[in-house]
């Protein structure tokens, strides 16, 4: 067989010296240096130096420096936030995935629900905050609701789009091979729309990390959002920034894990594999 196969994993080009790791750290280093220079030029300003934030981060994680209300609170707060993020995300996915499939494939359901959803979609999650506090009380339930709401729409919309844009040719192929119309859904629609649903889940989880902080800023005792809010009230800006950094890293790692999972499960898809 002389025909070329472009991307068999066995036939990768030999390793070259790779400059990308260097490329990736240029911007963070420049930002960090700018920040440091700024604080060095204006000592005693409102913005703490990177070193102060580093110390605050250490104390948040391990204690032994300040021994105040924030010491050693990193892990409990991170766990509180992460459990809300994943709990609400799972709930949102459990509703949005089946609902999206129904809306995508059944005209009746689509006609019934789509207008409502299109009107609800542009309402930002933050605008729901007052209402959610009335409905769920001040506390973690309200935060949970906001997170679920925030990740619901990207999952739903991507699922609808994915199940609607299955190539018609694949239905024909399946039918001429003996798949009955009733079996087309599990045999064709479901596998064909997995990459689209996966994109929705990834976006939804990313948004959950954004929303959690907003959700925890009002009347919640635990979590990274609450920690940042408390620190703000005490003018502990170094803790605010440390909290921001933790959220950024946690969200990034969470996304990375999902991405790797997608690579494994969707190896067949040129976009994911």
């Amino acid at each position: 067989m002389s025909e070329a196969v472009e991307t068999l994993p066995l036939e990768r080009a030999p390793a070259r010296i790779d400059a990308t790791p260097l490329l990736r750290i240029v911007v963070p280093v420049v930002l960090l240096m700018g920040w440091w220079a700024e604080t060095a030029l204006h000592p005693g300003g409102l913005i703490p130096a990177p070193s102060e934030v580093g110390v605050a981060l250490w104390d948040l994680a391990f204690g032994g420096i300040n021994d105040d209300a924030f010491s050693q609170m990193l892990l409990p707060d991170l766990i509180a936030s992460a459990s809300r993020v994943y709990g609400a995300f799972v709930l949102a996915a459990a509703v949005a995935l089946p609902l999206g499939m129904l809306i995508g494939r059944l005209r009746l359901v689509r006609e019934m629900l789509e207008p409502t959803l299109q009107v609800l979609r542009p309402v930002p999650v933050t605008a729901w905050l007052p209402l959610s506090m009335i409905m769920f009380g001040i506390g973690p339930k309200s935060a949970f609701f906001l997170v679920a709401l925030g990740s619901f729409f990207p999952i739903l919309l991507n699922t609808i789009f994915a199940v609607r844009s299955v190539e018609p040719r694949l239905f024909e192929a399946a039918q001429m091979l003996g798949v009955s119309p009733a079996r087309l859904f599990p045999k064709v629609v479901l596998p064909a729309s997995l990459p689209g649903m996966f994109t929705g889940l990834r976006l939804g989880l990313g948004l959950a990390w954004v929303v959690i902080v907003v959700g925890e800023m009002t009347g919640v005792q635990t979590g990274l959002g609450a920690m940042i809010m408390d620190a703000r009230q005490l003018s502990r800006t170094e803790i605010v920034i440390a909290g921001m950094a933790v959220i950024g890293v946690a969200g990034f790692l969470s996304d990375y894990a999902v991405l790797m999972l997608g690579r494994k499960l969707l190896a067949w898809s040129p976009q994911h594999g």
């Binding site: 067989m1 196969v5 068999l8 024909e172 091979l177 003996g178 596998p191 064909a192 040129p270």
Partner: protein, 253 residues
Amino acid sequence: MIPPVLSAINAGKIYPGGIEALRNANLTIAPGEFVCLIGASGCGKSTLLRMIAGFETVTSGQIIVRGKEVTGPGPDRGMVFQDYGLFPWLTIRKNIAFGPIARGKSKAEAMATADRFVSMMGLDRFADSYPHQLSGGMKQRVAIGRVLANDARMALMDEPFGALDAMTRERLQEELLTIWRATGLSVVFVTHSLEEAIYLADRVVVMSPGPGRIVAEERITLERPRDVSSPQFNDIRRHLAALLHADHAREAA
């Protein structure tokens, strides 16, 4: 006389928009026969093929496959599409096993069948690759293999080699003929290439547009393998080209 595997009787198609894609098509195909449909763009070749496959309904007349009127797609009529239509989420082996599994064979049996056709189509090296990792020619081998693995009695092929380069195309024509001889499959093959039609077919059916209809049939009795540069081959080509062009001339007039 052996009953035909397929007969189209005054088959016609008017699409919902009102376009008459096919009028009064009459065509019978004997078991094991290789028939090519040729004609200008828009003359209803795909429409006829898709009606035989059961993807399009017949709006007048009938299409009968082995004694039964066609009411929908079925595994006895395997289709090979120009754009392959492989399942991107399945490996090559599983793409070929898809049909047997859909028809209720056990996983083990389906996989054994698939392995047989993977080898037959020269795809061993790619058995565990995904379709996007294959060249066009390889993909079309898979598409043919899955139809064969599904015990189709008839292969419906809509410009299957139209998107391939000349070398690959010639090789696949050769392989298709070998398989056809070995299996006794009936083949309806749509092409735009007169040469391809004469090279492959027992019978070439000439169609013409506006509305689409069958205007001529030519039995090709040249011994296989056929020599495309032989005088006899050229005579047939000239004759069929005249039929096709007569039609264009009428159109232009």
